[in-house]
Symmetry: C2
Subunit: 117 residues, 2 copies
C-alpha cells in the first residue's frame, strides 16, 4: 500500500471528524511516517488490522469530500491566489511607486489568502 | 424562535452531512421560508417536533464547525478577496493601459475567488 497524499490532504480537512482511534493511526502513518508494521507493533494489533483501519478511514474521508467538496474548493482558491500573485508581481515591476505599493499590498493579501486555501 | 442566518450559512457548508429528514426541515425553514407550523402541518407532526429537529440539526452543524472551522476560513478568504478587489480598482484607475489591464485581470480573478469563499 503506497502512501496516498490525496488522502493526507483530505485528512487535513476532515480528520477531526474521524474517531480518535482512526486519527491516531492516520497520524502515525501520514504525519509520523511510520510503517503499517510499526504502527501494528505499537498498538498491539495485527498489520492487517491497521491496514483495515486506514482503508475505512480513507473511505470516510472520500465520502465527506464527495458530499462537501470543500478540499476541491480550497484547491481552486489556491490556484486563483497564485494567479493574483503573479499578476501583482507584473504590476509591481512596472508601475510608479504608488502603484507598486498597491500591487505589493495585493501580493501580500493574496499570499495570506493562499495560506487559507 | 428567530431564524438564525449563521445557521443558514453553516447549513450551506455542512448541510449534506445531515440526515435526509433534517435536511428537508432545514430547507423548508431556511430556503423555502416556511414557518414551524406550516412545516409541521406538511409533515403531519407537531410543531414541537419540527422545533426539536431544527435544534438537533443546529447542534450538529455547530459541532461540525467547531471541529472543522471551514466556514470561518471561507469567511476570511472572502474578506481578503474584497481587499484585493478594492486595491485592484485603485490601480486600474491610475495606471497606464497595460497596468490597468493587469489590474482588471486581478479584479476579475479575485471576484471569482470570492465566489468560492
Amino acid at each position: 500500500m503506497a502512501k496516498n497524499y490525496d488522502i493526507a490532504l483530505l485528512y487535513d480537512f476532515y480528520g477531526d471528524l474521524l474517531t480518535e482511534k482512526r486519527r491516531a493511526v492516520f497520524e502515525d502513518y501520514y504525519d509520523n511516517d511510520l510503517s503499517l508494521s510499526e504502527i501494528a507493533a505499537n498498538e498491539g494489533v495485527s498489520r492487517q488490522g491497521i491496514h483495515d483501519t486506514l482503508k475505512k478511514g480513507e473511505e470516510q474521508l472520500r465520502g465527506l469530500e464527495a458530499k462537501l467538496g470543500l478540499a476541491a474548493r480550497f484547491r481552486q482558491i489556491s490556484e486563483k491566489a497564485e494567479q493574483i500573485i503573479a499578476l501583482s508581481k507584473t504590476i509591481a515591476d512596472r508601475g510608479d511607486p504608488a502603484i507598486a505599493a498597491a500591487a505589493l499590498q495585493i501580493k501580500q493579501t493574496a499570499e495570506e489568502l493562499k495560506s487559507l486555501g
